[in-house]
Each structure stands twice: as structure tokens, then as C-alpha cells.
């Protein structure tokens, strides 16, 4: 069979577009950024922090320093150990420079130092790691949960839809921040619980979006064709409907990623983020807050700018995607 295929393929005037190679697909994906200036700006903003997160130190080689792996007093010990080397961050995030607290930017400390004399740049660089892993993870979990609920509600309709959507509506009706507070306060502050909080708060929104898309797509003829083949509902939901809803879902999750970064920052600010010595962006702003009136706004300023950069960057990418998908509609 394969031989027949190849010879036929060679003789027939098969157009080039029939089987795009992997490289071509990647190239097409990248060319999107060159077409959309907005998305390119977003990519630069987010990409900057992704680079910093990857190469802040040698963790890529000695992966002991991921979020939550080194805790408490260990972190100080470990940061000064032989094993540890700072790359882009220049210093360890926990190293305290005596007598140099609350300084402004200088050649030694690019962004200045905080109350305890730690280098703000190093702390932001390491903080980006937790935020850039937690945000996508929480969005993906929310997507899985919300997407499944939304698909089922949209496809089955009727009572299932009614009950499910009312419950989700009830969750949406709580202020998000209150939800976070309740969940984190009840379960304690940890990376897992942050993910959990964001999932619970974000899933209803995703479910609504996916339900709407499913309601639309299930009226298409190809769904009826699948039904007349006697396909199971789960096959239809995940194989026939879901891939056709991917456009809006991807755009939405980009935006959601921005909100997640925001939420993680907020949680940190409220002291509900990652426990203290770990360099969390929200807690950096929180710690710097009291120093603003003392004329040393650096810590709060840099922390806020970092959060803003990532949020704005993700929003810009989402905008670019939305624009692009509309153009081809």
C-alpha cells in the first residue's frame, strides 16, 4: 500500500499545501508574530521574563531550586553553597547585603535593595519562576475542569445544563478575591492551594465560554453526521466539538493567564502567596509598600512593573490572536 501511495503522490499534481511539514507549521506560527505588531510587543514583554526565569541561575542544570523544593532556612544555606551559581540574576535572592538596605538603583544593585539588603533584581528574577509556572498550570487545570463541564452542559443541554450552570453561576457570583481568601485561608498558603484557588475561581468562566461554543457547534451538520454514525457523546464532545472551539479557547486562556498572574500577585500582596523567604512578586510589592512614603519607592515600583509587564504582554498576545482569527473569518 505504501508504495502505491508514494508513486501516486509523485505522479499526481498534488498541490503543495496538501501535506504541510512540521517546519512549515512552526514557521507559520512564528509568522503570526511578524504580522501582528501587537502580538510581537506582547511576545517581547512576556519573553523577556521567560528568559530571565530560565537563566536566572544554574537551576536548569541543578533543578533543586524550583518552587517549594527548598524551604525555610535551608534556602539561605543552599544559596550560599558551592552548588549554586547566579547567572542573569547576578546574586542569590536571599543573600543579605549588610548595611545596604533600601538603596536606590546603582551599578552594584541594578534595581536597588530591599529592607533587608537583598538585591531586588535577583528577587524579581527568581520570583518570575514561581509566577510563570503557577499561572499556566492553574489555567490549564481550570481549562480541563471548566472545559469538560462546559462541553457536557452545552452538548447534553436540558436538566444537566440547567443544574450545572446554576451551580457555576453561584460560584461566579462571589467576588473572586473573596473566593481566594476563603480557599487559601482554609487550606493554607502553598503553591498547590494557589493553583486550586485559581482553578475554582476561573473554571466557571471557562465553562460558560465552552458551553456557548458547544451550543453553536453542536448544531452543525457534521455533529449530526457523527450522531447518525452512533458515536458516543464523549467522542462527539472531545473529538468533534472541542477541536473546533480551540480558537476562542486559546485566546481566552491567554487573557486568563494574565488574570492568573495578577491574582497570584494579589495573593502575594495579601500575604497569602508563597511563604515568606521565597521571592514572590506580590510580597515584594507588599514589603515595599511601607517604604513608599519614606521616599524609597523602589521595591514596590519594580515589583509592580514586573507584574504589569507580564499581564500587559499576555493581554497583547491575546489581542493579536483575536484580531488574527477575525481576519480569516
Amino acid at each position: 500500500m505504501t508504495t502505491a501511495e508514494t508513486t501516486a503522490g509523485a505522479t499526481l499534481p498534488a498541490p503543495a499545501a496538501s501535506e504541510p511539514s512540521r517546519w512549515k507549521k512552526i514557521k507559520e506560527g512564528l509568522s503570526f508574530f511578524s504580522r501582528s505588531k501587537v502580538a510581537l510587543a506582547g511576545l517581547i514583554l512576556v519573553g523577556f521574563w521567560v528568559l530571565i526565569a530560565l537563566f536566572a541561575d544554574n537551576c536548569l542544570i541543578t533543578p533543586r531550586c524550583y518552587v517549594g523544593m527548598v524551604q525555610g532556612d535551608d534556602i539561605t544555606q543552599w544559596a550560599t553553597s558551592e552548588e549554586y551559581q547566579s547567572w542573569l540574576s547576578r546574586y542569590s535572592p536571599v543573600e543579605q547585603f549588610r548595611g545596604r538596605n533600601r538603596e536606590g538603583p546603582s551599578a552594584d544593585h541594578w534595581l536597588g535593595t530591599d529592607t533587608r539588603g537583598r538585591d531586588i533584581w535577583a528577587r524579581l528574577a527568581h520570583g518570575s519562576r514561581s509566577i510563570l509556572t503557577l499561572a499556566p498550570i492553574s489555567v490549564i487545570v481550570a481549562l480541563i475542569v471548566g472545559g469538560t463541564l462546559g462541553l457536557a452542559a452545552g452538548y447534553f443541554g436540558g436538566l444537566i445544563d440547567e443544574v450545572m450552570m446554576r451551580i457555576l453561576d453561584a460560584i461566579i457570583s462571589f467576588p473572586q478575591i473573596l473566593l481566594y481568601l476563603v480557599i487559601i485561608a482554609a487550606l493554607g498558603a502553598s503553591a498547590t492551594n494557589v493553583v486550586l484557588a485559581i482553578t475554582i475561581a476561573g473554571a466557571p468562566g471557562i465553562a460558560r465560554l465552552v458551553r456557548g461554543l458547544a451550543l453553536d457547534i453542536k448544531t452543525r451538520d457534521y455533529i449530526a453526521a457523527a450522531q447518525t454514525r452512533g458515536e458516543s457523546p464523549w467522542y462527539i464532545m472531545f473529538v468533534e466539538i472541542l477541536p473546533n472551539a480551540r480558537g476562542p479557547i486559546i485566546i481566552d486562556s491567554m487573557l486568563r493567564m494574565g488574570y492568573a498572574v495578577f491574582s497570584i500577585g494579589t495573593l502575594g500582596f495579601l500575604g497569602l502567596g508563597l511563604p515568606p523567604p521565597s521571592p514572590d512578586w506580590g510580597s515584594i510589592v507588599q514589603a515595599g509598600r511601607s517604604a513608599i512614603q519614606a521616599g524609597r519607592p523602589w521595591e514596590a515600583l519594580w515589583g509592580s512593573i514586573a507584574i504589569a509587564m507580564v499581564v500587559v504582554g499576555l493581554n497583547l498576545i491575546a489581542d493579536g490572536l483575536a484580531e488574527e482569527s477575525q481576519r480569516y473569518r
Binding site: 496538501s18 457534521y222 449530526a224 447518525t228 452512533g230 458515536e231 477541536p243 473546533n244
Partner: protein, 704 residues
């Protein structure tokens, strides 16, 4: 030489060498090139052509409504002697408002859903002209009367969604005529309407043209519609006008090979597939990005010669009033045309009546939808239950290896009927017997062998395939599911299926968005036939396709049916297509079958009065055929609360034939009248009287 002609001397619109281009990233795309025509006062110029040939672009170009990236690249448009090209938007707006009006396909795009119809119509007069409210109201009511709107006073108080589509279109036309425009551009004004409504709207267009001396540019893809209302016809192909002639000449003596091809691929009314063949035009319309260097039609033309490939063809007159864009128009004799090898008609063996055996027996089938009543109690589920009786007490038999056509206006329940049979809707009552199996309940509850025997071909080519998967992938799925062939032969079976629907092997890896509508529909057919079903239900499989593609798909369907001996149920709203394709035909009205019988019997008396009015409304692509003038009044009643007795009694034009003006129709269900040979009519009028009806049209003699 008469008065009309003398007054017409100045055309209302003259289009000269018009070229319209769209700017894209890849450079300008010339969607319309070198189009010239003029329209005189009181004349209707029809513009026909398949989709994507630039008909609407010309219309939008005339009012400079081309969007941000469109522009008039060349040529000029003179309206009442003044050039429209290069006007400021402000000037064009006043012109458009006062002297040029447009009517679009979808009436809802031009009506504001939150304003009452009266307010929308009066606005035209009060805002620009400063006419007083009372006077404006009076004039609007008068104009609604002129477009035959029943009860204009009350329509003025309604919202657009409260009136039917046909009435909406009338409101749009009335609004357009309020300003007494010199030019009316109608872009497929009847495409979204049912035949009976369409016929009424076309009559209206013709009357208005006479009364107001308006020049009308009428765009349509339907040759029948054009034949009915137009004085002259311009045939467009790939952005160029290829032929322009008076309507009779276009149909009786077409000179361009494309026009000839178009006329050949439309089924003639009253012809069946056993007595005539449709000849599709091979190939497809070239995209404006990628035009052939010479004649645009050359790649699809049977008469193409070397000269056609190299030079651009000019649009030249060959007779008075008859111009054509073809080098060899005089040499081509359409009568001497013979189809090329692959289009030769295959002989269809008719199955003799005694060998016909039933495969599907439907016995008083009912499908009701629950409908939430407007009472507040229904919010909590306590309100009175109301049902939409989409299919109500329908019985018929489908014969093995033959085609049963189902016709009727939209909302008559024909789609619901086949969806119920296939199991996409739940059966409310009655019995469906399929080869001894009792089909009840939805598709989930049926076993795999029954599912496999019943398949469906869908209407909308753009929705029939899942855009996320390749063609091969989607054809493999039913093969795997129904275990038609062993696993290792699936790929070769897919390729065999592709070849069966006349597609090449390389379509295997194509994604649906790389295919044309006709190709998608072929894949849809291949998918339906993949499980080798016994009964295929076709829900308007060709109504969304262009005529040339439609012919090819119809041929393909009948070929496959012949090969597999499949039984089909075929829904279409186009009566010529149904007649062409079907052996038996059922006519439905409001959820009931009013007439059923062999196809040729349906199209000749005795008729059910409803069938008669349907036939009188069919637009026939031949201006020489005289059709009887029967028009239905009123709207299709709501299936929520159907009329008592005979459901057709509210609109029946033949009721007066019965004693007491048809009192009996309002109270009693019509009896079944058997005209023999399985031809049944449900009507109170006795068969003898039905037989005396004049035929709606003379069916031309059989043969080419």
C-alpha cells in the same frame, strides 16, 4: 418604435469598462474586470452567474460600498448622466438616499429589530424631506398597500420579527420605493424565500417597475427567476460579463459556451433522470487571484482553441442588442453540441412496478416538539404544555432502490420527517418499519447494524465536514466504526470511495477549508455511502450549490444509487430538481402529506390545490413556457396551532369549488382520494373535478 422607447433614450445608469479591485497583502485582486452595460428607465437588467463571479461586487461598486479594501480600479459609472466614481461619501449618500435604493437577500439586515416598521418607514420621509408625521404615515400605508401587504395599518405597528420573511422583504421594497428611486438594485431579493412567496415578490417587482418606471438591476443565481422578471440579462463569469442579450435570446439562442453550459445543467421542469441528463460544466470557477491568461472560460470550454489561450477576449456585439465575449460565437452551434465521453448519459433501468418492494413503511408518524407557552406558569414548569406539530400523522411507503422526493415550503416538516426516521428526533407517535425493524427512539438506542443501514447527506456543504480533520480522516471514521473492511484495507477503501465520488487520491490529506462547496458535498456523499447503507436520506443536498456543481452532484448521486441499489429519500425545495431525481414524490404542508404519488403523476392533473399553486410558483428557466397564474394568499399558519379540518383551507385557492364555499374544509379532515397507481390526494374536492384543472404549464416534449 414607440413612446416608451423614445423616452428611454437616456439610460439611467451606464457602466463603462468597470474594474473593481480588492487590496490584499498579496497585492490587488481584480474581482471585476471590464464590465459594461446600461439600464434604461422601466427596464429590468438581470445579472446571473454562479457564486464568486462578481455579481454582488458590481452592485456594491455602483453605490461605492466596497468596504475598506475595495476600490474602483478602472472605468466609470454614470448615473443620470453624472459620474459616480470619485464622489465624496457625502455626495454619494444623498444620491443613494434619494435616487438609488438597494434590496438585499436577507431582509433582516436592512430592518432595525428594535423599531416598529412604521417608525422605520416614516423616518425615510420625515428626516430628509421634512414631511409631517401624519402625511408620512399616510404615504407609508399607501405604499404598503401597493406592495400587496395585507392590513398595512396594523403592520405599521409591528416589529420586524413579528412578520414573515416574505412580508419583511415587501416592507424593504416598499421602503425603497418611498423615495421613488430612479434605480433599484436588488441583490438576490428572493433567494431566502419560499417558492410561493418568491412568486408573489417577483410579481410585485414587475408591477412596481411598470408603475414607477424604475430601472432595476436584478441580481440572481437562479435562471428561472431571471427569466420571469428581466428584460435583458447579463451573464457574468469570473468577474466579466460574457454575454448580454434580451431575455428570450439568452434562453433560446445563447451564444457564449458558458451560457449554453449553464442552461444545460439546470433540470427542465417535468423531466426526470430516466428521460434526460444534466450536463455539468467541468472544472470550477477560477479564483480572481489566478486567472487563465486568455479567455477566462477557456479551461472549461469545449470549444477552446489555441487563440483562446493567448489573447484577452473583447466583448463584442454579434447582433443588435446581443453582445458576447467569445472569439468564435458565430461558429458555435449549441444544437450540435455533444457531451464529452465522461458525461455520456448512462442508461438507467427502470424497475418495473410489480418488482417494486417496500423497504420503509411509515405509519401515522408524529413528531411533536414541546414548546414553552408564554404563560408565566411555564417558567416553573406548570404552564399548559404546547406542542409544535412538526410532523403530524404522516404515512407513506418507500420502495426499494427508488427515490422518494419530499417537497414543501420551509416549515412544512420535511426535514423533521427524515430526522425522525434517522433518529435525530424522538418519535412522538406512530410506527416506522424499516426492513422489518421497528425504528423508534433516538439513534443512541439503536443497534449498530440499523445505524449502519441508515445514513444521511446534509444540506450545507460548509457544515457537513468537521473543519479540524482531513478528508481521509473523516472518511476513515465510518469505515472503522461500521467495520466495513479489515483494518489494513481502510486506506485503500477510502481512496476507492474518493474515486467513486470522482475525486482524486490527493484529496486524502486535504482539509475541508481547502475544498470547494461541491467537493465538500461529494465527500459528504462518500461518507454517507461508506457504510454501504440501504437507505440514504438527503436533506437538500444540492440547494446550497451552484447550478453547474448541482448538476454534477445530482448525476453522482444517481450513479451511486444505481451502483449500490440504494433507496433514497430526497428533500428539496426546487421542484424541478425533485422531479428530475425522484421516482415518487410526497408533497407536504404543515406537517401533513397532502399528495403522494409517482413523480410524473404529481406534475400533471389531478393536482392537490396546494401542489398546483407550488407548480405555478416555480420559476422556470424558459421565458417561452406560459405558467398558469395561481398565487397563494396569506402566510403558512403556525404549526403550534394548525387550522382545523384541512390545514390548507386558510389559503386554498380552490375552496370555492365546493358547495357552501368549502365549509366542510374548515371542519373535517380531507378524505384520501386514490387516483390509482399509488397516487393519493388528500382533498375534499372530488377526483373528477381535480382532474379537470388546467395543467399549470405545458411540459415540453421529452428529449433534448
Amino acid at each position: 418604435m414607440n413612446r416608451e422607447l423614445e423616452k428611454q433614450q437616456q439610460p439611467v445608469v451606464t457602466v463603462e469598462d468597470l474594474g473593481i479591485a480588492y487590496e490584499t497583502r498579496a497585492g490587488d485582486i481584480h474581482a471585476v474586470r471590464d464590465v459594461s452595460f446600461e439600464i434604461y428607465r422601466g427596464e429590468t437588467l438581470g445579472i446571473v452567474g454562479e457564486s464568486g463571479c462578481g455579481k454582488s461586487t458590481v452592485a456594491f461598486g455602483m453605490v461605492n460600498y466596497l468596504g475598506r479594501n475595495g476600490k474602483i480600479a478602472k472605468g466609470n459609472i454614470y448615473f443620470q448622466g453624472q459620474s459616480l466614481v470619485g464622489r465624496t461619501p457625502e455626495e454619494l449618500r444623498t444620491l443613494r438616499g434619494d435616487q438609488i435604493a438597494m434590496v438585499y437577500q436577507d431582509p433582516m439586515t436592512s430592518l432595525n429589530p428594535v423599531l416598529r416598521i412604521g417608525a422605520q418607514m416614516m423616518e425615510v420621509l420625515t428626516v430628509h424631506r421634512g414631511v409631517s408625521k401624519e402625511e408620512a404615515r399616510e404615504r407609508c400605508i399607501e405604499m404598503l398597500g401597493k406592495v400587496n401587504m395585507p392590513d398595512p395599518d396594523r403592520v405599521m405597528e409591528r416589529y420586524p420579527h413579528q412578520i414573515s420573511g416574505g412580508q419583511q422583504q415587501r416592507v424593504i421594497i416598499a421602503t425603497a420605493m418611498l423615495n421613488n428611486p430612479a434605480l433599484l438594485i436588488m441583490d438576490e431579493p428572493t433567494t431566502a424565500l419560499d417558492v410561493t412567496v418568491e412568486a408573489a415578490v417577483l410579481d410585485l417587482v414587475d408591477n412596481l417597475r411598470r408603475e414607477f418606471d424604475t430601472a432595476i438591476m436584478f441580481i440572481s443565481h437562479n435562471l428561472g427567476v431571471v427569466a420571469r422578471v428581466c428584460d435583458r440579462v447579463a451573464v457574468m463569469y469570473a468577474g466579466e460579463v460574457v454575454e448580454l442579450a434580451p431575455v428570450r435570446d439568452i434562453f433560446a439562442n445563447p451564444q457564449h459556451p458558458y451560457t449554453q453550459g449553464l442552461i444545460r445543467c439546470v433540470p427542465k421542469i417535468g423531466r426526470s433522470k430516466s428521460s434526460s441528463v444534466l450536463y455539468p460544466i467541468r472544472g470550477r470557477v477560477p479564483s480572481p487571484k489566478n486567472l487563465p491568461p486568455g479567455c477566462v472560460f477557456e479551461p472549461r470550454c469545449d470549444y477552446a482553441r489555441e487563440a483562446c489561450r493567448t489573447q484577452k477576449i473583447t466583448f463584442r456585439p454579434i447582433e443588435q442588442n446581443h453582445s458576447v465575449r467569445c472569439l468564435f460565437a458565430e461558429e458555435i452551434d449549441p444544437a450540435a453540441w455533444t457531451p464529452s465521453e465522461d458525461l455520456m448519459p448512462q442508461t438507467l433501468q427502470a424497475i418495473p412496478a410489480e418488482e417494486r418492494e417496500p423497504i420503509l413503511q411509515v405509519d401515522s408518524l408524529k413528531t411533536y416538539y414541546k414548546h414553552a407557552s408564554s404563560s408565566p406558569l411555564s417558567l416553573i414548569g406548570l404552564g399548559p404544555k404546547e406542542y409544535v406539530k412538526a410532523v403530524d400523522d404522516v404515512s407513506f411507503t418507500a420502495m426499494k432502490s427508488l427515490t422518494l422526493g419530499v417537497v414543501g415550503e420551509s416549515g412544512c416538516g420535511k426535514s423533521t420527517l427524515i430526522k425522525t426516521i434517522i433518529g435525530l428526533e424522538d418519535v412522538t407517535g406512530g410506527k416506522v418499519d424499516f426492513m422489518g425493524f421497528d425504528l423508534k427512539g433516538s439513534v443512541n438506542t439503536r443497534d449498530m447494524s440499523t445505524i449502519r443501514e441508515l445514513q444521511m447527506v446534509f444540506q450545507n456543504p460548509n457544515a457537513t465536514m468537521n473543519p479540524s480533520y482531513s478528508v481521509g480522516n473523516q472518511l476513515e471514521r465510518p469505515l472503522r466504526r461500521f467495520k466495513v473492511v479489515p483494518k489494513n484495507q481502510i486506506r485503500s477503501e477510502v481512496i476507492r470511495l474518493l474515486r467513486a465520488v470522482k475525486l482524486d487520491e490527493y484529496y486524502y490529506n486535504r482539509l475541508p477549508n481547502q475544498l470547494s462547496g461541491g467537493e465538500k458535498q461529494r465527500i459528504g456523499i462518500a461518507r454517507a455511502f461508506a457504510g454501504r447503507p440501504d437507505l440514504v436520506l438527503c436533506d437538500e443536498p444540492v440547494s446550497a450549490l451552484d447550478v453547474s456543481v448541482q448538476a454534477a452532484v445530482l448525476n453522482l448521486l444517481s450513479e451511486i444509487q444505481q451502483e449500490y441499489g440504494t433507496t433514497m429519500m430526497f428533500i428539496a425545495h426546487d421542484l424541478s430538481v425533485v422531479r428530475f431525481f425522484s421516482d415518487y414524490i410526497a408533497v407536504m404542508y404543515l406537517g401533513k402529506i397532502v399528495e403522494i404519488g409517482p413523480a410524473e403523476a404529481i406534475y400533471a392533473p389531478p393536482y392537490h390545490p396546494y401542489t398546483e399553486s407550488l407548480l405555478a410558483a416555480v420559476p422556470i428557466p424558459d421565458p417561452t413556457i406560459q405558467q398558469e397564474h395561481v398565487r397563494l394568499s396569506g402566510n403558512v399558519p403556525s404549526p403550534l396551532n394548525p387550522p382545523s379540518g384541512c390545514r390548507f383551507h386558510t389559503r386554498c385557492p380552490r375552496r370555492h369549488l365546493l358547495p357552501n364555499d368549502g365549509k366542510i374544509c374548515e371542519t373535517e379532515e380531507p378524505p384520501l382520494r386514490d387516483a390509482g397507481d399509488y397516487h393519493q390526494i388528500y382533498c375534499h374536492i372530488p377526483l373528477e373535478q381535480l382532474r379537470e384543472f388546467e395543467p399549470v404549464f405545458e411540459v415540453p416534449a421529452e428529449g433534448r
